[in-house]
Subunit: 435 residues, 2 copies
């Protein structure tokens, strides 16, 4: 929990640096809000028992509840940078080794609102880089693509409109499978003509940087496709902004990235690292989703959504990051205790309590042994076990002379000869000087 | 959320000062774990739908999950100070005006383990006082009583053993009802003989300080009752320790305090304040519960619990405290943004982005308007709306001269004449000096 809390506070501080606020949504939503948002994975949603009232389900992610919130409160929150670090629930087969749990944290940052193109998108990517840097994740790459470029490619290669999402999800497997397997899925399983698949193959195996963009701009078939052209313009502007933000070297423009979720409408991205405990792994992902809020806003007279708020966001895979941080971690100090109050000989319980009280009053984190007759060696063991840096030691002599002994537990015994003796009324000052 | 987060971090810092760690338990438990722990209120438990696997329910409080956790992991965690700030769920009729929600935060601190008597109990009460002081709650009193004293009183007054808990819960209403009504409940509803009720009445209307304890010690009938005598000894020791911890003036020994929950076995307490938004109200409560962990530990060959870990704890009523803090609050600054980057004339978008990047690199919280053509007055309005203290302003002139203007938004315009001009390479230093 100490590692986890530090990770969360590091992430939150970056989000706040960029002017974000946090919003908390309930752990359960109306079942109908979640229905039809997660494709096949909808079967993993936990429902609450019907006990009268509304039918509710536990949230599956934080994005759909956020979009629902915006649709309900959009007038007030049309422009917002919000983050949310909270648990989500999936009725999956749990596997400790794969880090797959039924209850786990998600950590989302999103920018909602209508702005000039690609500016918020660039800031989200900048925030992702700042976050991974602050978490000290080494060797990461952000794969970047655009749904409109992909859809344009599918269109001009001759993929039927109603097969586009399904072909797209086959493409998304190129990070794990060779092209031959992906082609086989397209043709054998999904009935695509082999020559169409081959044309797709020429595009989706391309990856690179702005030079790839230049190359695509030379492809007049692509440039003349309306969707692809919009995507290329976005990408050109974005790469330009990423340059200004100093993060273009982190980005790989990768035409094989397709992302599973249906609701993306613009750029999509995924951060991968070689440092993941289970090999190269995804540690963050996101994209632009301009139509999700409209799905919850109701419709106007013309049958259009009555409120449409474009959004772009990223979800940090905090459970995976947590595994990386834990693997790195040496023995963690879980307690914040700064001073352990001990006595030598006799009980002196109330005297230890009196000193602890003084320390608490001064805002110092202090503990003592909950025993009348506390043995010195046991007190030392307790102090060492919790890696408490300082000890205050009293005995009859110290009490009579109105002094205390201070021992720095971080130093070897010889260096300080059993501690220094200070006046009782300078105890707080002496302790603070050593903390 | 800003007020809420500040409240939580204040509370957590006090808990950490006393050597506590936090433990996170799942939001749902096996239904059987929760069954029979909450008396009549068990009907308020949310169950999950049965979708195969185990039958689960949402947690109703944080104490039962903690006790279940200790029973499962007790060997490793037999001595622990733990806190947990998290949401609990009750299928109650929600009422915004009464602050009664179906999902709300609880904030628990508990000390588990076998120690010398009343030392952890005293520290829990000290922590409660430190917390309420840190939250700046004024005029609070901690009502204190002991289950064994109460049960001894019931015994010697002649209450049948199987009526003790039900008579006890009638006594607990003395904070809201006059004695005559409580007596009526005992006799008319619960079938107690009038003379037995009258005897109880002589005791449970007593409240005071150590002088009340002295008075009870003079009552030989009470002193000769085994249970009551144990309770009196505990109380004597506790008041002594509370004196050492400097909080005895906050305590009112109150024989009418009985507390609803069945699982308390020793001291019980409740903090009330006159500052509550709905009149005098309870803002924290707790007590000692020595047998709860044993209910989850399984039994040994002799039919006794195989693991018994005594506990004492307190739950801070954070939703109520939150209402008090909100009622006090003036306009809250929800964002942490420190600098707003603006431009005069033309677009200069990339120049604003470049400066924002420099500020982020320096760890400064900065924002700018997501527009190519940003009007100066709109930028000023955005800056003022979020109460951002500093503005960096650039125009063509500033860019040509490699300078920026810094304007302190907290000062009246006249005082600074539209801001000061500084060299671009001293911008960060100048900003930090003003933050």
């Amino acid at each position: 929990m100490a590692v986890r809390e530090k990770m969360f506070s590091t992430i939150a501080s970056i989000f706040k640096r960029h002017g974000a606020v946090t919003i908390d949504t309930p752990v359960f939503e109306l079942t109908e809000i979640l229905a039809g948002k997660y494709g096949e994975d909808s079967k993993l949603i936990y429902d609450l028992a019907y006990q009268g009232g509304e039918q509710c389900s536990l949230r599956y992610d934080l994005t759909v509840p956020f979009a629902r919130f915006l649709a309900m409160n959009g007038k007030e929150y049309q422009n917002i940078k919000r983050y949310h670090i909270a648990k989500v629930y999936r009725r999956d087969q749990p596997s400790m080794s794969k880090g797959r749990l039924r209850e786990f944290y998600q950590c989302d940052f999103d920018i909602a609102g209508t702005y000039d193109p690609m500016i918020p998108d660039a800031e989200v990517l900048r925030i992702l880089c700042e976050t991974l840097d602050a978490l000290d994740i080494k060797k990461y790459t952000i794969k970047l693509n655009h749904r409109k470029i992909l859809d344009g490619i599918f269109e001009l290669c001759g993929v039927p409109a109603d097969s586009i999402r399904s072909i797209s999800s086959a493409v998304d497997k190129l990070d794990k499978l060779p092209w031959s397997d992906v082609k086989k899925e397209m043709t054998d399983e999904k009935g695509l003509a082999a020559e169409v698949a081959d044309k797709i193959g020429e595009y989706v195996q391309l990856k690179g940087n702005h030079l790839l963009l230049d190359r695509l701009y030379d492809d007049m078939k692509l440039v003349n496709n309306g969707k692809a052209s919009e995507g290329l313009q976005d990408m050109k502007l974005l790469l330009d902004y990423l340059d200004v933000f100093g993060i273009r070297d982190k980005i790989s423009f990768d035409l094989s990235l397709a992302r599973g979720l249906d609701y993306y409408t613009g750029i999509i991205y995924e951060a991968i690292t070689e440092e993941a405990t289970d090999g190269v792994g995804s540690i963050a992902a996101g994209g632009r989703y301009d139509n999700l809020v409209g799905m919850f806003s109701g419709t106007n007279k013309k049958g259009k959504p009555s409120l449409q708020i474009p959004c772009v966001g990223v979800s940090i895979g905090v459970e995976r990051v947590f595994s990386i941080l834990m693997a790195r971690q040496q023995a963690t100090k879980s307690k914040a205790t700064e001073v352990y109050v001990m006595s030598v000989g006799g009980s002196l319980l109330k005297d230890r309590m009196r000193i602890a009280r003084e320390l608490w009053d001064a805002g110092i984190n202090a503990s003592f042994m909950f025993k009348n007759k506390a043995k010195l060696d046991k007190q030392f063991t307790a102090c060492e076990k919790d890696q408490i840096p300082l000890a205050v030691i009293i005995g009859e002599d110290e009490l009579n002379q109105n002094v205390v002994k201070i021992k720095d537990m971080r130093q070897k015994d010889e260096a300080q000869g059993g501690g220094i003796t200070v006046e009782r009324n300078s105890m707080i000052r002496e302790l603070k000087a050593r903390l």
